[in-house]
């Protein structure tokens, strides 16, 4: 089973949504209406599902805005994000139906997990 499929399963169960509503491009907050407590639960589930130690701040891009506003290198803080994705995120920050909602997508979580698993 791919990393994405596993995350899809976990999210569908945790947030009580249909699996087909979740694609790699789905926004965790904007589309799925997740709350921070749900992400905490997701982190715990990922910990045991993939047997890796997850840093919540990193996997959920929690300090992204802070880094952007301080002009810090996003690539350095989140090495699992591709250059293309970083460009997309910078364009995306401040958009969406509610501009303050995070840009986090399902694929970011998958990329984090892949990065951690490869670096073990």
């Amino acid at each position: 089973m791919t990393i994405f499929k596993k995350i899809q399963d976990l999210l569908a169960e945790l947030l009580d949504v249909e699996k087909n509503e979740i694609s790699p491009e789905t926004y965790i907050f904007r589309d799925l209406g997740a709350e921070s407590i749900d992400l905490m639960e997701l982190a715990v589930a990922i910990n045991s599902e993939f047997n890796i130690s997850v840093i919540d701040d990193d996997i959920f891009l929690r300090r992204l805005r802070e880094y952007i506003s301080e002009n810090q290198s996003i690539k350095k803080k989140y090495p699992f994000l591709s250059d293309k994705r970083i460009a997309e995120i910078i364009k995306d920050v401040g958009k969406g139906p509610n501009f303050s909602e995070p840009v986090l997508k399902v694929k970011d979580i998958a990329d984090y997990i892949k990065y951690i698993m490869e670096s073990i």
């Binding site: 407590i37 639960e41 982190a43 715990v44 045991s48």
Partner: protein, 248 residues
């Protein structure tokens, strides 16, 4: 009334104190499985001899408030507790203006920061089962300290705040918290104080100190399904002492 419980494994922090040992007996009799923490070999022996009648019905684990690594071993994958009862508290009785900076910092690191780390880890483990109950044993002195109890009261109030918020944040996931504030208890440090200040019980409306088994019974109730609507709250158990002015 027969109390019902949704889990069985009860991690007891500060497992060597008289109250914890008394609670462990109540838990075993209620078919629950206590896991008592101790700081060293002596503590372990103390627990084992006190509960020698209940072999294989409890466990001891090592936990030192100074040793962050000891948390990890307690919360290993297959041993997640269903309940946590927190008696842990190191001792620091002194006047605010007379204590050394080193001891102040160490005391708060042990009794607040370390506690936050433990309840964070416990709650994350409970999240997998979507249920869990955490009881913090605070003290009536949290609100009404005697001179010399300033650091103690500060640590208790800060810890209550941590437990309260945990219950607030995770109630929707089945994880709830209660802080219990007992008054003068005929056990441990309280017993010595009562012996030295005999008049003190006269100031309590019920004219007596609390017996350790009363506290243990109350904790057992608070862990049960019957008490599950007590969440993110502090409950005072002091015979009415804090309701009025002290008349000595």
């Amino acid at each position: 009334m027969r109390l019902k419980f949704s889990g069985s494994r009860v991690l007891i922090l500060g497992g060597t104190c008289e109250l914890a040992l008394c609670l462990a007996e109540y838990l075993i009799k209620a078919q629950l499985y206590p896991v008592l923490s101790c700081r060293n070999k002596n503590g372990r022996q103390q627990i084992e001899s006190s509960l020698s009648a209940f072999k294989e019905k409890f466990e001891t684990v090592y936990l030192d408030l100074n040793d962050a690594d000891s948390i990890k071993s307690i919360f290993s994958q297959n041993n997640q507790p269903d309940y946590l009862v927190d008696f842990a508290q190191s001792n620091l009785e002194s006047l605010i203006a007379s204590e050394s900076s080193y001891d102040i910092n160490r005391y708060f690191a042990e009794n607040i920061s370390f506690r936050a780390e433990i309840i964070k880890t416990a709650a994350r483990g409970m999240l997998k089962k979507r249920r869990g109950r955490l009881i913090f044993i605070s003290s009536a002195a949290a609100l009404r300290p005697n001179p010399g109890q300033g650091f103690y009261a500060a640590a208790k109030l800060a810890s209550e705040a941590l437990y309260k918020n945990l219950g607030l944040e995770m109630g929707s996931k089945g994880i709830t918290t209660v802080s219990l504030r007992p008054g003068y208890i005929n056990a441990g440090r309280g017993e010595n104080f009562i012996k030295q200040n005999k008049k003190i019980t006269r100031a309590i409306p019920v004219k007596r100190a609390i017996e350790p088994c009363e506290v243990a019974e109350t904790i057992l109730f608070l862990l049960s399904e019957s008490a599950r609507s007590f969440n993110a709250v502090e409950i005072t158990m002091d015979g009415g002492m804090s309701a009025g002015k002290l008349i000595l």
